[in-house]
């Protein structure tokens, strides 16, 4: 097997043991990107000389010599972020972002910048100044957003680790659509330095997208500069909520998630506990309002009257619409944040995890990102935010883990835990992998099949 097809941790171990040559791995990775990327548009820029320089200077850290990609949301010393857009509406310049420093100090090699949904403002990835990224499981389907490129890159095994960002589900949506493990850490746990919203955002975090939880743990630890220690979860109390987030869901998604919850319960000798968590729809809306108004400081009517025509009409319209949101809704949203944070404190006295589907349906078509749910047809963005906003609103950690396939497309289960219990999420994700015989984390998208692409 090529080192390209090892896990992130096995690539790192093989390099550390002298069983893999990191220079060769880098060149093979660049060749694979050239070969596979045209079908998915996951990586929007490579810089082989910069990557070789990074490898030459790489310290002997936990990711020494391991190739990774980083979302177009983070500046690099040689490249300003573009945020997937023709213009960002915020200052942007090359520089050392926190995730860049974390990767560099861990010895990783950044081989490319990954695509993303325009301005981070969508859960599908169907809009981008670079053109949409495509889902390696079916290139006519959405890869998820806004971290579309990081997810597609890992699902096609261009690389085995990617760094994204999550302000309203933007790591977990693409992880679910692409069959990956995506961690939205506790607010503030992973570095945000250099992000153009770092000073004002109360929802955005950086985080890893990988094939499985052990890889996500290694990448998160490397970004944080501190270990996310592994533990053995026993007797986990899994909270479920009988609400829209778990019930207005496509039948195949609901069935796979319920089976996964039961498998996790059995694997850990735990229990499933039904809990009350009211006002989840208000919480989702509050998250959207907060996330969309925290950036308004950069906007003025004059500025909005000279938007770059390269922005999509949807982006231009939604940016202008933000200025019409009532101030009272923003104030109310912060009250809902307080309300939900206190409710979660109470909930986490009774349970260790809260579980529901990451997204209510599998990846929709790129051309028409709509999903059919028991309640009717909704836009994917409308449907997806329901289950994702709570973690961003309140600061708790959350992970999406693959738990099945429907019509050849991945299904994701979201696990949420109390503040600072990111490790428990990863422990639970690993327990679930064991319970499933690692079936879903080892499932490869058609584009990642070695025999079909490298024969």
């Amino acid at each position: 097997m090529s080192a390209l097809d090892l896990t992130l941790r096995d690539q790192a171990a093989a390099i550390a043991a002298g069983d893999a040559d990191p220079a060769q791995l880098l060149e093979e990775t660049l060749a694979r990107i050239e070969q596979r990327n045209p079908a998915i548009n996951a990586v929007v820029e490579t810089f082989p000389e910069r990557s070789r320089e990074m490898l030459a200077a790489a310290p002997s850290g936990p990711l020494h010599g391991v190739p990774v990609v980083i979302k177009d949301e983070w500046p690099l010393p040689w490249r300003a972020q573009r945020f997937g857009a023709a213009e960002m509406l915020a200052p942007s310049a090359p520089g050392e972002s926190g995730p860049y420093r974390g990767l560099r100090d861990a010895g990783a090699v950044i081989v490319g910048v990954a695509n993303m949904h325009e301005l981070g403002a969508g859960s599908t990835g169907n809009l981008s100044v670079y053109g949409p990224a495509r889902n390696p499981w079916n290139t006519e389907r959405c890869p998820g957003g806004s971290s579309s490129g990081p997810a597609a890159a890992v699902a096609a095994r261009l690389v085995v680790g990617a760094v994204g960002a999550d302000g309203v589900g933007s790591i977990r949506f693409p992880a679910a659509y692409c069959g990956l493990t995506g961690l939205k850490p506790t607010f503030g746990r992973l570095p945000m330095a250099g992000h153009h919203m770092a000073a004002v955002s109360s929802t955005i975090v950086s985080g890893p997208l990988c094939a499985d939880a052990a890889d996500a743990r290694l990448l998160a630890s490397s970004l944080a500069g501190e270990p996310f220690e592994a533990g053995e979860p026993r007797g986990i109390r899994i909270g479920i909520v009988r609400d829209t987030v778990s019930e207005d869901v496509a039948p195949a998604v609901r069935e796979a998630c319920e089976q996964a919850i039961e498998a996790l319960r059995a694997e850990t000798g735990g229990e499933v506990v039904e809990i009350e968590l009211a006002d989840l729809e208000a919480a989702a809306l509050a998250t959207v309002i907060i996330a969309n108004t925290e950036s308004l400081g950069n906007l003025s009517p004059e500025r909005l009257n000279r938007l770059d025509p390269g922005l999509s009409p949807i982006a231009r319209g939604l940016i202008k619409f933000r200025l019409l949101l009532p101030a009272a809704a923003s104030v109310k949203s912060h009250l809902v944040r307080t309300l939900m944070r206190r409710r979660l404190v109470n909930a986490f006295e009774d349970v260790d995890l809260i579980a529901w589907p990451t997204v209510p349906a599998v990846a929709p078509p790129l051309e028409a990102p709509l999903v059919e749910l028991p309640s009717g047809v909704l836009t994917a963005d409308q449907a997806n935010v329901r289950g994702a906003g709570l973690a961003n609103l309140t600061g708790i950690p959350s992970v999406s883990v693959p738990v099945g396939l429907s019509d050849g497309l991945p299904i994701g289960l979201q696990l949420q835990a109390a503040w600072g219990r990111d490790e428990l999420l990863l422990d639970a994700a690993e327990a679930l992998e064991r319970a499933n015989g690692r079936r879903w984390v080892e499932a490869l998208s058609p584009l990642a099949q070695p025999e079909t692409t490298e024969a």
Partner: protein, 67 residues
Amino acid sequence: MDDPSQADDFVPAGLASLGIEADEIELAVMNAAKGMFWPPIVELLSLDTSGLEPERCPDLSQAPERP
């Protein structure tokens, strides 16, 4: 719900009051956004939070202190 004609005016009137220009496509996007977001915004504003003690400068990396 509002008189539909007034609702139709909300976006262009709001933009005009702020001096923001918009083309037809942008207006269509904003009207769609209003149709999608306004009913839940009205519900949100109606949520009774009168007994809720606000959390001052919340530290989102941690659980809130009990009021």
